[in-house]
Amino acid sequence: MNLLSHRRELGEFKKRYKWMALFAIACFSVLFLMLVKLQLVEREHWASMARANITKTVTLPPTRGILRDARGRVIASNRPSYEVYITPQLIRPQDIDLFSSLMEFTEAEREAFIARLEAVPAYRRTHQIQMFTDVSRDQVASLETHHDDLPGVDVVARPVRHYPYGSLGAHAIGYLNEVSAEDLERYKDQGFRPGQRIGRSGIEQSLESILRGQPGYRRSVVDARGRRQEDHESVSDIVPEDVRPVPGRDAVLTLDMELMRSIHRAFRGHPSGAAVVVDVHTGKIRALYSKPSYDLNMRSGRLPHDVYQEMLENPFRPLIDKTIYESYFPGSTFKPFSSLAALRDGEIEPSTRFTCKGAYHIGRQRMRCTSAHGEVDARTALIRSCNVYFYRIAEMIGLENIDRVAREFGLGARTGIGINSESAGFLATRKWYEEKFGRFRIGYTLNTAIGQGNTRVTLLQLALSYAAIANGGTLYAPQLIERIEAPDGTAIEEPAPQVARKLDFDPEHIKLIQEAMRGVVNREGGTAYDARIPGGVIVAGKTGTAEVITSREHRERISDEVDERLRRYLTRSHGWFGGFAPADDPEVAIIVLVEHGGAGGRTAAPIATQVLEEYLGSRDLALAQRRN
């Protein structure tokens, strides 16, 4: 080959170099334009994403305020729950054996753990995943000992709510559970995050904003695996921040948990009922008791579905707060209000007597009394709970007068306690009867006077109205909060007792009612005479036995019940007792309701006298001991 031939053969290629160069320039221009787009035009967008990548903000939850009772006993506090976080990426096969033995897994638990590990999607494998909650202290100790051998296992302590009294007072105290999507929307500006807990009922709910405190946060710089970077100053200008959470405030309640426990003891043998105790001079609530109840520690944790289902179907209705949410026919506990209405109206004198022959005839209807009481005046009518007397005065004064007095005592309207969807109860008016039954009959008035009409009251309403009778005519608003305290114990707020209304009754008339109520328990023939504790605190009060079968629907519902014993139970009347003590210088008013307990004097009154004896008697003893 000579030089010339080489040159000739190359001619074929010569035309192409220019096009190749242009193609290369075109390709690089595309890359250049892409750089312009990413680095010049969209820089801010990508820079913020880069910042977000390395910024990790961890919310530091505040410690929830502690609830105490009036005597300083802890009702709700916080304890650490140990939770195990697993980073699947860092778990080696041999780690599974070690971890399983430290956790003392059974073979099945071990298999379940492996299955859960494998189910973690690829993109989450470098993240910490919460796998076990509330592990025992022994397990925590074992895991901590082997911490260096298990880099993918972390134990984190998280505070959980603890209720030392378990189920006692559960309805009033309330529980927490996880915030829902709606809560997050509703409390957007209050810093709630998914997974946090919020007061769901009772005082935990109503004092949420006081107890919760303010969350803090920690902003740190992390790498791609989420590990915290300490010496990042050379790389980023992100300033780590550490804002400590502000703990919630503590609340001292007016409740007395020993009194509650005493009520619980006194209710032994009765499956279902409720009781309220209030201070007659302040309206401070000393006890809100509803039976049956549920364990707040369980309700605040992860309540198993079957347990919840069981509570829903339980005929004694553990989920219902029977002191505030439910309302009842008051039965004869209503009679003092009828008496006061008639006395104020001037239709009768305290000494006015009527004769009870065991029944009362109105038109063709015959309305029965509990027995033939003979000659009764205002006092004996209450002591022996004579229906005929009240039929007579009802006929004389009319429904409006009775309703008015009831309303003045706070019945038929919410007391404003502020927890658990309070019921207003119900006062039936003439108009209501006309609309409901087509026309008004005088019988409705008579039934209303003995608490068997369509009047419905809550235990709380009744307790406050009995307190008003006991203190001579001042109706207090209910008070649950004794004091709000800072975490160091200094008082921030001490709500003063609030008077709802000064009642306008002749003091003599109120005194008469008080004396009659004292007679109910302490005079032979009084309906609660058998419940008195000789030599104990002198209790005044009124019994009630409220029939529960008042409508056809109700009767049908009960007759659907298969269990014969339960059916008989459900048709029995509610037993009531409302009263105050000590009778001479009243301090507290009490309402006891034994659902389907039968005669109030036999079932509810003994509970009340026993509770008051334990509450006031023991205190008197303690006072006496201190004096010596």
Partner: protein, 370 residues
């Protein structure tokens, strides 16, 4: 003296400086990308050794008159094929593919070297080809077979990225020849027709996922950025957040905190771009474009077909690898295992690039000699 003077005068300083600049910047970037890493922190030292070794072999490739390569072209080609067969016998399997041969502590990836032997074989074939223009598809069959043999072996490993580069080198060389327009169109159409076939039978699931991830990126769908689109997404964040002047050496958060994937092998440009910004990136782009254009200039000045085809082949190899890698790092192409020549860490790719550049220099210098 005359020899020294002629070496000084004939030596291609422009090519030398451009390549030196890229390799030095590559080592600096590698230092930034790996020095914070617990196990990779010494990598830049190893890269300097590999560079030195590559430079020595390149010097060897420069020193020998390339006509010796022409004379021994078929032996070199066969040698490459033998290496590829040896891989299947003694190679080690990594991430499901057999690519590497171990000699003690040194690892060799034969498919990288085969790119060079393929270029030499194609140059030899065209050098001896009596035809000069007016080529039809029939004329593509012999060189096509020269490509097919090593490419099949590489696909079987499987190493799709390298196979693709071999095909691109072949295509670029064939464009050099005067192929008839009709043949060119037929070729292009059959290539398009082959795409669904390749999708169905050649591509693995993870490869398809990457392509789909890219399509999702372009359609604005961000749902996959946590898994299949993660690499491309983090790389683009690194580049974009660099801005005009970059975050500074060793101060790229995406690079230093491990968000940029495979930062020393496949994604070093993202690290560079984040820390040196638009200006640094354009500098790098400019250097690559310069080498490509300079390589074409060398080819155009070559004294024979062998030299011209070899120069075009080496230039095409560097061009395609650089463009595909940069486009992938910027999120323009799906993520394929493709290193950035001269800039990425890696012995075998460094070796093949250096040999290729040695040959290019050889062609450049010999343009004066005959």
């Amino acid at each position: 003296m005359a020899l020294v003077r002629s070496l000084r005068d004939q030596f291609d300083w422009a090519l030398f400086f451009a390549v030196s600049a890229l390799t030095i910047l590559g080592v600096i970037n590698l230092y930034s990308a790996t020095s914070q890493h617990p196990t990779l922190s010494g990598l830049y030292i190893s890269q300097i050794y590999k560079l030195a070794m590559g430079a020595a072999i390149a010097a060897f490739a420069v020193a020998i008159d390339y006509r010796h390569f022409e004379r021994n072209a078929w032996s070199i080609y066969v040698g490459g094929i033998v290496l590829l067969i040896i891989v299947f016998m003694v190679g080690t399997t990594t991430r499901g593919s057999v690519r590497w041969i171990h000699f003690g502590s040194f690892t060799l990836q034969p498919s990288e070297l085969v790119k060079i032997s393929l270029i030499i074989a194609l140059a030899k074939y065209l050098h001896n080809d009596p035809k000069s223009g007016g080529r039809t598809l029939k004329d593509l069959v012999p060189p096509g077979l020269i490509l097919a043999l090593p490419m099949t072996l590489i696909v079987l490993q499987p190493d799709l990225g390298t196979a693709l580069i071999c095909a691109a080198i072949f295509g670029s060389i064939m464009v050099l020849t005067n192929l008839k327009l009709r043949s060119l169109i037929t070729l292009a159409l059959s290539f398009i027709a082959a795409i669904p076939f390749a999708w169905e039978y050649l591509m693995r699931d993870y490869q398809k996922e990457r392509v789909l991830a890219l399509i999702a990126r372009w359609s604005g769908d961000t749902s996959n950025i946590l898994d299949t689109g993660w690499h491309a997404h983090q790389s683009v964040i690194a580049i974009g957040s660099g801005g005009v002047t970059g975050k500074g050496f060793m101060r790229g958060t995406q690079s230093q905190f491990g968000f940029v994937p495979d930062q020393h092998s496949d994604f070093p440009f993202a690290v560079w771009s984040e820390e040196f910004g638009f200006l640094g990136s354009v500098l790098l782009l400019g250097l690559y474009l310069f080498i490509v254009l300079w390589g074409l200039r060398i080819a155009s000045q070559a004294k024979d077909r062998f030299g011209a085809v070899m120069a075009v082949g080496v230039t095409a190899m560097i061009f395609w690898q650089a463009v595909i890698n940069l486009a992938m790092v910027m999120g323009l192409l799906p993520v394929v295992g493709m290193t950035l020549p001269l800039f990425s860490y890696g012995g075998s790719s460094m070796l093949s690039t250096m040999i290729g550049l040695g040959l290019l220099m050889n062609v450049s210098m010999r343009r004066f000699s005959f």
